[in-house]
Symmetry: C2
Subunit: 340 residues, 2 copies
């Protein structure tokens, strides 16, 4: 599968640009190097994904046979609950357990993406020289801080590169916390005492998405109250027989306390997912969503992207003028795909 | 266009159900009665929209020639800023100006939808007997309290029924505030002093969507500060030459103060929209979005709705198994539409 640095399908443009380092590898070569753990090849592949490179399709086709191994763990929580500290500590704990770890930070306030205090950023350097840890921040392109739509594709890169666990960190506001649950095998919701909005935020939807709740800063006043509140709210949920009951774990991430418990629950959840058939179901649903999103995006481009005024514009103008209605217009649009 | 109560296209099922009052009018008859201001016909049409009735297409086709007159005003703001009180006072002010007014409440906490204090609900009865005011709450079906996707269709009913102004009230959290700006000709953002999150919320996106800012409870401490903050934040926005500069208006809605200023600014904005060509642009964009949403929904149903396992499920399983990738799968899906 690997090929030389300037073979067919090479990233090198013909001519002057050719000598530049980052444009000399072919996609199959990059995939092969990424699978061997070459961090630069991983970085390059994720950049191709992020930039929506014309090579994206080739990248995805090259990765497909090698993906499906990694456990994707989404980490969400309000700002201030210690999300970055927890992610960092969790990386350390997973490394002690011998796992290869990927981190995708899709949180604009994350130290990985440069939004936080220097202190935090320095702390994350713990793992900067560990070649079995790959850390990457993603630009959050969706509106309102949602997950970049390229996130699932970046996950596939890290998966094919041999990560055992991929942590996806995002800020717990609005859309993104629901989106992360759609992407992850296991969703970890972080709470902390002293956050006025801890349980309030929980009410807004977090209680439906967590597979695992972590009460961080458990040495502070109010931690027991947060756990009690959480426990009684979770008890209200109706669950089918045999369904997963989300556990609550306490940590003091800044002191590295309790992370072993988190890793144990992540592993227990993964085992339950696999044995219950839920892992297959979640991954199939995720693939469905991804395929559908790509197909719909392609159609939208086709509908909107004709020289000058597009067919969709014409139809919209007819609706505004009262000459048509949206359903009749949608029929015309759909008929046009079938004959195009 | 009107037909008898049991003609072709009648809502009455053959047989026993036939005598029931709400099933005896044909769609053309309902449309004709709605245009004459019959509130029950309006209610019935909106119910057909909300229930996604099989007659929906006929309803939309029947309304199309009569829509396009109403000015749609979206009203958004955090809970506690006095949104319901303001909407109520605004209805009164618009009535005094001789306008026919529709109110669509898509806010789960709205008194219209039954989520608020009885006191509020009673207060809204001000307009309950006014036949030139039509008030309707919509179930918020989108996830996370977003606007129901049926909202644009309900707007079309009220529009065809002859409303001059339609107020769409929604709670200002996350998605819905952006969605409302997509639906409305004029977006009114409400703020109030003493709400810790007033300007904070504004930062999160409200500053990009408001055509008009209303600082309610202007007789309270802090109102001047809210206005100052708002003014300086709005001043930072870069606007094209000739673009609309969102004004800031003060009100004390509970005492009916300042609403005349709000109505004046709504009218001034409408005049600007019409003269600048922006009204046409916004309405065309809205129709585009609506047509596209209907077409995409139809495709999704087709992809997912085959007996047993759908084509999309098969493709997703192949992606999970590493036999295909999402792009290749999307190609197959798109090819299947063209030949179906």
């Amino acid at each position: 599968m690997t090929s030389g640095s300037a073979g067919p399908g090479s990233l090198a443009p013909a001519g002057p640009g050719r000598g530049r380092r980052r444009t000399t590898a072919s996609v199959p070569d990059l995939v092969a190097r990424a699978r061997e753990g070459d961090a630069r090849a991983v970085a390059r592949l994720i950049s191709l994904v992020e930039d929506e490179s014309p090579l994206l399709r080739e990248v995805m086709a090259g990765l497909a046979p090698h993906a499906g191994h990694a456990q994707v763990v989404g980490i969400t929580g309000s700002p201030g609950v210690g999300k970055s500290t927890s992610t960092n500590a969790l990386v350390g704990e997973l490394r002690r357990a011998g796992k290869r770890v990927g981190v995708l930070a899709v949180d604009p306030s994350s130290p990985f993406s440069g939004g936080a205090l220097l202190g935090d950023r320095v702390r994350m350097q713990d793992h900067a020289t560990d070649r079995d840890v790959y850390i990457r921040s993603m630009a959050s392109r969706g509106h309102l801080g949602g997950l970049a739509w390229t996130t699932p594709q970046a996950l596939r890169v890290l998966d094919a590169a041999g990560c055992d666990v991929i942590l996806v960190e995002t800020v717990g506001v609005g859309q993104s916390e629901v989106e992360i649950a759609g992407l992850a095998d296991t969703t970890l919701v972080l709470l902390a005492p002293g956050m006025g909005d801890g349980i309030q935020a929980a009410k807004a939807g977090i209680l439906e998405i967590g597979d695992l709740y972590v009460v961080n800063k458990a040495d502070r006043d109010g931690a027991d109250q947060v756990k009690r509140d959480l426990r009684s709210m979770l008890a209200l949920a109706t669950r089918a027989e045999g369904a997963w009951k989300p556990p609550i774990v306490s940590t003091v991430a800044a002191k590295g306390e309790g992370l072993d418990g988190v890793v144990a629950e992540i592993e227990r959840h993964h085992a339950w997912l696999a044995s219950s058939g839920e892992l297959e179901r979640r991954r199939t649903r995720r693939a469905r969503d991804e395929i559908e999103a790509i197909a719909v995006t392609a159609l939208r481009e086709r509908w909107g992207d004709v020289h000058g005024r597009s067919e969709l514009d014409e139809l919209a103008a007819a609706v505004v003028a009262g000459e048509s209605d949206p359903y009749a217009a949608a029929d015309v649009l759909l008929a046009s795909i079938q004959t195009s």
